[in-house]
Symmetry: C2
Subunit: 398 residues, 2 copies
């Protein structure tokens, strides 16, 4: 049995397991150290009571004759309808909203749907699954210098207001675009997204819009969905998740919007293919998680989402303040739970190690998100308040 | 944007949505008909109390500071350990048991791991995802006559005791093998599985052993796992699920065993690649489902699994009896929830339609499971007892 060449093309470990490994090694060498993580984007706060009641009731219901349910490949109709209403002003039918077990999993399935022949373009830096998943499916090749062959890296830096120059786009590609961005925390404005949509339309590309952090937007002028832009339905797929707004990282629930207006160049329906993918290699999100999702999207649930995201944004403010006071240039943290901090002229992993050794704080090295992430560190605002406060005290040493 | 050629290669709809569509059409044309489904393998009975308590407590715990948990990519260690103990006499370490959201989903990810260059061989008939997923990833090509190009169909019929002639196997392929089999209900004996393992070893192939129905085996002489065969660790991956034994079709929980002894021809670790897949395009099963899985595998939970599978096997006996009395030759239904019934010289979809029209009973046409399924009908034993009894009454008309 030969090893699949595509998986062999992927470099080293996935970023976060690598961070976890370095943490374990440090902890073994320093058994007394109290390590605090501002590293991975894993939520830490309990699920709030109303939403959790949705989950427990969803679980209890399965023990009853009336409430039992089995496979729901594409999701429970009521939840699909509610998502359309809450997030998209009802502009999508239930058969255009597909419930998933999370944004990352659906991105993997989207890559399967578009296949090896569809080139990928990513914001640089970006969330690793866009690139790693593209390489896995064969849409990207081996590692060369600072990136994978065949992947178009679109630098997003302070100089371009974290919005890429789209003239480098190949035709007929998938453009992965995350806003609020992971890792930079930057949020694209309405005009920027309109430029993105026009660019996709013009060169026959599709946008995979990752809106997983949309509920962290506080500036009411900023778009929360690509579908706020005219005609985006004809060139964009939106992926979203309950993980970060409702603390569902361990519950597993998300959704993907594929409009029936989205067509391949031959006129075939992308929506129909996505439905085929859902029934072939997926069996739906847990019905318990879906019951929790229903609770999360009524008025009490939405208030809890606000409260929880406010809490993490409070953490973000604390971290940002301490970095700014230390003279470190950073972005994000206002409409996003990530702070992107610059350490000019230095290597990201080296700064990661310095922060770990001096402060016993885990961060994420920016270079793990792409070549333009070099010299940056991502601080995550997911953490208990006391831990974040303690981490901030320690970061003053920097 | 061009449509992926691989998805274009897949013929018509996935079998079960197609069955559902025909049911809807019949129901619309006959609004008064009381249709009973013995079609898809969706569980119908409530989750039993002890296991459900595991689920509700798992959900409630997430609202507490101490009990909250987030991402668990490869699964909670305690559950991995318990699975190893309950199903494999503890012969696997926790890092060889990977928790999933179900067998079908993991089969899709296995296909991603092995990629387009690894040919597939399937029992014919077989569960559609092996073939459809292989075509999706590019390991199979377009439809030709009665099968997909590049897929090796291994006929399993009464004539060969439902165990295939393995001399047709290509080298270095993935052999999908399901026992107890879906759809035939046949269970491979120990000597047959030993023949399978030797054949895989001999030609450099790996076995994907689907044991999703293992808890339906009542004959103590029959193997429940491929790992009961010597050296299977070096050439087999086992996929399993809580769906059918514990009624978790809507809860989503399964597991896959990838031994550290499993190596590619170049010596690389398959286990390491599988771990990479899990962290790249998957984010773990729901922690609530995993709490339910823990409850399902203690002594009370295992007694409930026995009770639930006994119930469905009771249904299977009723269906089998009525078919046998009608002079229809069938297999399965004793160590499996499926009965495979033969209608010589007839087309499966035609028989499907006849049963629907005469009895208002939904079944699954055997031809949907592969060329050797032609002239067969699969009856599923998943249903409420009263419905199964009523369906059996009606089937006497055949």
């Amino acid at each position: 049995m030969n090893r699949n060449k595509c998986i062999a093309n992927i470099k080293a470990g996935y970023l976060f397991p690598e961070v976890a490994k370095r943490r374990r090694e440090y902890a073994q060498a320093h058994p007394d150290a109290k390590i605090i993580s501002l590293g991975i984007g894993n939520t830490t706060e309990p699920i709030l009571p109303h939403i959790d009641r949705g989950l427990t009731e969803g679980a209890a219901k399965l023990a009853t004759f009336e409430g039992y349910s089995g496979y729901q490949d594409e999701g429970i109709a009521e939840l699909r309808e509610r998502i359309s209403k809450v997030f998209y002003k009802g502009q999508f039918g239930i058969d255009e909203i597909f419930i998933s077990d999370g944004a990352k999993c659906d991105i993997g399935r989207l890559q399967l749907m578009f296949g090896a022949q569809t080139p990928a373009a990513v914001q640089d830096p970006s969330y690793p699954v866009y690139v790693d998943g593209s390489v896995l499916i064969g849409a990207g090749g081996g590692w060369e210098d600072s990136g994978y062959k065949g992947i178009t890296y679109l630098p997003c830096t302070a100089e371009n207001d974290y919005f890429p120059d789209l003239s480098a786009l190949k035709p007929n590609c998938l453009i992965y675009f995350c806003s609020p961005n992971n890792p930079t925390g930057a949020v694209a404005g309405r005009e920027q997204l309109a430029v993105l949509v026009r660019a996709a339309q013009k060169n026959g590309s599709f946008i995979i819009f990752d809106a997983a952090y949309s509920e962290y937007i506080r500036d009411s002028g900023l778009p929360k969905s690509i579908f706020e832009i005219d005609e985006a339905k004809t060139c964009a797929i939106e992926v979203n998740s309950f993980s970060k707004p409702a603390g569902f990282t361990g519950v597993r629930l998300g959704w993907t919007v594929v409009s029936k207006e989205l067509k391949y160049s031959g006129g075939e329906s992308v929506n129909a293919d996505w439905s085929r993918i859902a029934s072939t290699v997926f069996n739906g999100a847990s019905n318990i998680s879906q019951a929790g999702g229903m609770a999360a999207l009524d008025s009490e649930g939405l208030a809890e989402i606000r409260k929880l995201s406010d809490f993490y944004l409070g953490n973000a403010r604390l971290i940002r303040n301490v970095l700014v006071k230390a003279g470190i240039v950073c972005t994000g943290g206002d409409n996003s739970p990530y702070i992107w901090a610059r350490f000019p002229g230095r290597d990201s992993w080296e700064v990661f190690t310095e922060i770990l050794e001096k402060c016993q704080v885990i961060t994420t090295p920016g270079s793990g998100f792409g070549p333009s992430g070099q010299s940056f560190i991502r601080f995550s605002a997911f953490g208990h308040r006391a831990d974040v406060e303690e981490a901030c005290e320690r970061l003053k040493k920097l």
